[in-house]
Amino acid sequence: MHRKHLLTSVQMAHFVANGSFRMDAVVPAEMNAQAIEVLDQGIPAVPYGTPLAQTFPDGSFVQKLVQLPEVAGAIHSLVGPDPTVDHHAVHIRKANEGEAQNLHADAIIDVREDAFDVQLMYYPQEVTLEMGGTLSVPGSHLRRTNESDTGRYQNLRGQTRLTCPAGTVVFLHHGIWHGGRRNDSGIDRYMFKIRFNPTVRQVRLWNTDDLYDPAVAEELGTYFPWYENATGRLELYNRVKLWQALTGDDTFDPEYWVTRVTNQPRRVVAQRSLNPHAAKEMA
């Protein structure tokens, strides 16, 4: 894979801040035209943890999808070479389907601090607001909540109600709050997802030429409209910790959030003899 297809540091920082990265219309129209029929036929399941290279037959539709240079570059940048496929699934939300999914994170609560899975979501059709594209909450991926315990939250300020052109691929951090919205249109909506597990340490797997571009810190400093005033600061703290893990650079801390609260000086400069409360010499 040519490095020009890897994500940049600014794009990775965007993923770390948002918990998602979208690539609009990255899949060619001729593949999108075949996709509905392929997805209707179903994609054969594989055991959890099957190496990506062994999951989809050579020449198959999904093999072509994950080998598109931009898609392969993003997978490599996020989870590295030779990831395994956790699972994959075709999701169809029927026309005029009456219900939305609750806001949830997939699987179970996941507290890893320096590793993450990603989910590829492929939308073969244009998705309109009425079709109930996936709802996701930018910047929610580092919150420690379990599956649908967030189901009480219907709407958050600044949420993303996905609308996109045909052939769009979105990568989501495993922890992001999301849900399929109610399809109020007359069109069945298709989405195909693959969850990838890394098999290597996720350190500097992308194109790091721009690692010290000021735009990296700008991305990592993004506040989202739904953040509470106080907890929003903790989000930045946790984001900086994740970026430090991904870059192997624990000096990165543009707003001093981590450094300030971990500063515990040990050097003592006040002599005991100058302490007025110290015991006097015994008579």
């Binding site: 219900e99 939305a100 999914q101 609750n102 806001l103 109930g132 709802l135 580092l142 919150r143 420690r144 909540t145 315990d149 967030t150 189901g151 009480r152 939250y153 219907q154 709407n155 958050l156 300020r157 949420q159 109600r161 849900g179 919205r181 109610r182 409209p225 739904w226 953040y227 509470e228 005033n229 106080a230 907890t231 903790l234 989000e235 703290y237 946790n238």
Partner: protein
Amino acid sequence: MSLTAPLETQQGVQIRQQVLVLYLASSALDARVIGWSTYDGTGATTPTTGDSDVPPYETGLDALKDGWRLFQAAQLLPPQPGHEYDTSFLKHEFFFEKLVQR
């Protein structure tokens, strides 16, 4: 007494509860709304996940001004030792109700 008995006035008018949940940017009731959910006991509407990008009120206080009655506010709980930097559920949750005729 039946557990399923409807709220009824002496005139036989059925009253139902509408519930509004607002999530605010701080523990102050006049803070900015950052999230919202609604549940309609009349069954006349079916609010659901991801159905609006625009909050119904700018602040919790604005809901009071519009006639909603606050009946529960989230407690302020200190973080568990060792978990001071963890983020989880929204902290500032306020439940309001309106009683309306069905």
